[in-house]
């Protein structure tokens, strides 16, 4: 039998580095987000003063912050619904039908997911360019434009970001759902079509219920990650402009840090943190179904 001392020494050696790194670069900063939100701390004043909930009171009346939260919620709702609808439908088709070149489609649809958000925003700036941009030149074929459409102008900028985000996410989720749909036994579909169930019925009565657990987990994670992806896209594509029209919560937080208002910035961080937790709890509750076995 091996000695308990040796076992403990081995375990400590294995775990200590991970715990130390995790504590310094994840736990400590997280605690700091909450602590600093109660302080006033600026870039040029080395001292911090405790101000209690003052930062949060300021947030409530900050119209820029409220707009950034509205934009975040808009992105969460629209991007999630569009991405999931398309990803599930395409996955349903590709995993059920005999499609020639199925592999080709799978490989192509996954490409946006491996590109840096900076690259994607570069690609989309070529698409959205008002003069000689790809999108405007295609629209120009069907419909003569007096003025070029300003895709990154104040009125359309959110639509443009939504398109880019869906473009990036759709393939990833499609490939993932294809993997889980492949595990649904063929016999279920066979007996369903003997009973005269059509494709749509099969999709909604067999496929969706059977992979529901998977959909539910990914939905929760997708919603949380949309808050982050929105930040990555906005920062690279528009920096929140024009005139703050595309500002989202995290980019507003980052902007306040650049402005040197660290305490205020962290108060925003706390609000988003709590918001995302509450949201995932709600989604988890709403999507709760009796899991089906097959």
């Amino acid at each position: 039998m091996k000695s308990a001392r040796g076992r403990n020494r081995f375990l400590v050696a294995c775990i200590a580095p991970a715990v130390i790194l995790f504590f310094i670069f994840m736990i400590l900063p997280t605690l700091n987000v909450f602590r600093m939100s109660l302080f006033e701390k600026g870039a040029y004043s080395p001292n911090e003063t405790f101000v209690g909930l003052k930062n949060f009171k300021m947030l409530v009346s900050d119209t820029n912050f409220i707009r950034s939260m509205q934009n975040t919620i808009l992105l969460i709702v629209v991007v999630t619904i569009v991405t999931f609808a398309f990803a599930l439908i395409f996955a349903g088709i590709l995993s059920r039908e005999k499609i020639k070149g199925q592999n080709f489609f799978r490989i192509v649809f996954y490409i946006p997911n491996i590109l840096s958000i900076v690259v994607i925003s570069g690609i989309f700036s070529a698409i959205y360019k008002p003069e000689n941009g790809m999108l405007n030149s295609i629209i120009g074929l069907f419909h003569k434009m007096e003025e070029p459409i300003l895709w990154k102008g104040e009125s359309l900028v959110m639509v443009s970001i939504i398109i880019a985000m869906v473009w990036q996410a759709i393939g990833y989720y499609m490939v993932m759902y294809m993997a889980s749909m492949a595990s649904v036994p063929e016999s279920l579909y066979e007996s369903a079509s003997l009973d005269g169930a059509g494709r749509l019925t099969q999709f909604f009565q067999i496929t969706i219920p059977l992979i529901w657990t998977n959909i539910r987990t990914t939905l929760t994670f997708f919603i949380i990650s949309t808050i982050n992806m929105a930040f990555l896209f906005v920062k690279a594509m528009t920096s929140g402009g024009p005139n703050g029209a595309s500002e989202v919560a995290l980019s507003y937080m980052y902007g306040q840090k650049d402005a040197g208002l660290y305490g205020y910035s962290m108060a925003i961080g706390v609000v988003i943190f709590l918001f995302s937790f509450a949201l995932s709890a709600i989604v988890n509750k709403v999507t709760d179904r009796e899991p089906l076995e097959f």
């Binding site: 076992r7 081995f10 375990l11 050696a13 294995c14 775990i15 580095p17 991970a18 715990v19 790194l21 995790f22 670069f25 736990i27 400590l28 900063p29 997280t30 700091n32 987000v33 600093m36 395409f90 590709l94 039908e97 499609i99 080709f104 489609f105 192509v108 649809f109 996954y110 490409i111 491996i114 590109l115 840096s116 958000i117 900076v118 690259v119 925003s121 570069g122 690609i123 989309f124 700036s125 070529a126 698409i127 360019k129 790809m134 030149s137 990833y172 993997a179 998977n214 990914t218 994670f221 949380i224 990650s225 808050i227 990555l232 920062k235 995290l250 980052y254 660290y262 910035s265 943190f273």
Partner: protein, 296 residues
């Protein structure tokens, strides 16, 4: 008989419709990417006409300018260094931790497992500001003690931060694999007189190769493409930069200077390594989906 014919033609219409939609989606992905590749060899004056013309000639000067003048070559080296170092640190730290946490029961093992699980919910974008402030304060302190601060604008520190923030996901993924192994492997090794660490390095880790490759793939992509942490911790104008941040600066400079060719060359330089990797391992990546499904 007649009815059968009818279902056949709707069937064909349905098939056609499916192919149409799939093809449109594929085109919407391929065309912009190929367009960027073509644009990267166009001369600047070609950008003022129809965007769908092919390049007049292969204008390689864009790449030379991007590589040298816009320093993308230097940034490429930085990115290679940071990504490689971060991957090494991550594996050296995460593999033993995941092994110990998933295969051994000890006093705090439950708590530690829960803590790393909770870490899955902490996104770096929330904590990048405190990390920045912590390193900045560290620099101020170092300046007082040693006359010089080296925590910010440091590629090694950046790599450590990357590795640390990837720990929860990586440990989660590896633990999931280790937990499926039978305990017989270790028992047999112990009977043969192998120590704990020999067993871990020689028996267990070689078996975990597929999981390790998945970990490397996912983290390579996320380290290579990351730009928020890099931008925040490497904010000094003269300090080193990684590729995506360099590209972002190039894109912003391009808006005033209108040097489109160089910008698209920069895009290609950032894109190509990930595309090559993807072509080599695409089946692995899409197979790893079910485990990577949580990452978003």
């Amino acid at each position: 008989m007649k009815e059968k014919k009818h279902t056949n033609s709707t069937e064909r219409l349905y098939k056609f419709f499916i192919y149409l939609v799939l093809a449109l989606l594929a085109i919407s992905i391929i065309v912009p990417v190929v367009w960027v590749f073509l644009a990267s060899v166009k001369q600047n004056k070609e950008f003022y006409g129809n965007p769908w013309t092919l390049p007049e000639s292969f204008y390689w000067q864009n790449f030379v300018d991007a590589w040298n003048t816009a320093k993308m070559g230097e940034y490429m080296l930085n990115s290679v260094f940071v990504t490689a170092l971060a991957l090494v640190i991550l594996l050296v730290v995460a593999l033993p931790a995941a092994y110990a946490l998933s295969r051994f029961k000890f006093r705090s093992s439950k708590f530690l497992n829960a803590a790393f699980m909770a870490g899955l919910f902490i996104n770096v974008n929330y904590i990048v500001v405190p990390i920045f402030l912590m390193l900045r304060d560290g620099d101020t302190w170092l300046k007082k003690v040693m006359g010089e601060g080296f925590l910010l604008n440091n590629l090694v520190v950046l790599a450590i931060v990357y590795a640390a923030t990837a720990l929860p996901f990586t440990i989660y993924l590896l633990s999931g694999y280790f937990a499926t192994l039978a305990h017989d492997y270790e028992e047999a090794a112990y009977i043969d007189g192998a120590s704990y660490s020999t067993t871990m390095w020689k028996i267990i880790f070689p078996m975990a190769k597929p999981s390790i490759i998945t970990v490397i793939l996912f983290n390579f992509l996320s380290f290579w493409n990351e730009y928020i942490i890099s931008m925040t911790l490497m904010s000094s104008a003269k300090g080193p930069k990684t590729l995506p941040v360099g590209l972002l600066n190039l894109m912003q400079a391009q808006q005033s200077a209108a040097q489109y060719g160089i910008m698209y060359a920069g895009l290609v330089i950032v894109m190509v390594p990930t595309l090559i990797l993807y072509i080599c391992v695409q089946s692995k990546l899409t197979q790893g989906m079910t485990v990577g499904g949580l990452k978003g």
